[in-house]
Symmetry: C3
Subunit: 162 residues, 3 copies
């Protein structure tokens, strides 16, 4: 792709939220983005508002949220991931290859449209990074519960450029 991810983000008119912030009362003793050599491990993220706080709608997909709302939540989660990745790496242009996306949906009983929900994340990665760098392996599955009752949680891995 001719354009860089940062340039593409601008072309698409996308603005990243602030890096993820947790309430001061919550102790989370791990790294949201963990760089190990060329590997970058991304902890489970949820959808955030512009200030980086986890935001609603909260609840079960198929009950409290429609599939369309959950798609939007997965897309917001991807933007939250990109915000934290940029915060740690300095620029999204340092991303060499997406590796894996593990998409977890807070599924109401009987809601099986999980791939369509996680497409909100996958499609954004492809839009911003292009078909090659954005390419990733993926699972999209339904969880019994997620922290703070967020509708979607996504864990991922990418590789830095050489």
């Amino acid at each position: 792709m001719a354009t860089s991810p940062e340039a593409r983000l601008q072309e698409l008119g996308l603005v990243l939220p602030a890096p993820t912030r947790v309430p001061p009362s919550v102790h989370l003793p791990f790294a949201f983005v963990h760089v190990v050599g060329r590997r970058v491990l991304i902890s489970g993220h949820g959808p955030t508002d512009a200030d980086g706080h986890l935001c609603g709608p909260f609840g079960k997909v198929g009950l409290d949220l429609s599939a369309e709302q959950a798609f939007d939540a997965a897309r917001a989660t991807a933007l939250s991931i990109l915000a934290d990745v940029r915060d740690v790496l300095g620029s999204l242009d340092r991303v060499g290859q997406w590796v894996r996306v593990f998409g977890m949906v807070n599924a109401h009983k009987g809601f099986t449209g999980l791939p369509q929900v996680i497409n909100g994340c996958s499609q954004l990665l492809l839009d911003v990074f292009g078909e090659e760098v954005g390419r990733h392996a993926r699972s999209a599955v339904g969880m019994a519960e997620l922290p703070w009752n967020i509708p979607v949680e996504i864990e991922a891995e990418l590789l830095l450029r050489d």
Copy 2:
């Protein structure tokens, strides 16, 4: 092991299904098998028929399927994984080492026999690749929902030979 995985597959009388096919109406913007350097990331797979289409029995293990049927579904899922791996790599003989199997069971309330179900995958990998190359880390867990109500979904990783 003296025999290669491809030769062993023949000895065992195993025939792989066609590579996984999704209904034309379904958009899945990710790679079923994603090669990143020597690492091969395998997206969540389910059991398929000979033509590569996801196949039944569908539903909850412990309700719609017995543990034995779910074992067979996990074995069929492993064969589906091998079909996609061969499709991308050209030959199973390029596999140098299995790394990780993440086995997810569509568990009915109270069904905890998850390891015995995922053994259907693990045992097949050991049979085809032998104790060394087929060796893998594994988790076997119960999900709230899986896509299209498949009974088993398996994500995995392997390494190419040097």
Copy 3:
């Protein structure tokens, strides 16, 4: 950190259980700890007693166990992981970097305090390995069912020292 993980373990007065043992009737065809080059993949573990047997309290967190009991179970699971890691590597001092912790809670309907539970594992890793080596990416999520009805299952990855 000046002190080594093995020395720190002693300072903290922590005694590791025996390596994980499964009942003779159970066939588990995979490696609890799988070394692949410098990567060490750790299969899903649960809390064990001093003899290495899976131990109670069993059941759903938020129903059969309180959040505090589940925190203790996550901490016991981390100790069980360390026991198996030491068993395979010979010494915890060979650990160069923790990479990823995937914390799965056997969640009762409506129990969303999953991060606080998995803190029982994360905090122990940081206490024993220090802020740098113990640093890890993490997800903490709620499963529908876990094997043998254990309250917590943790999968992880680390890197060996150069």
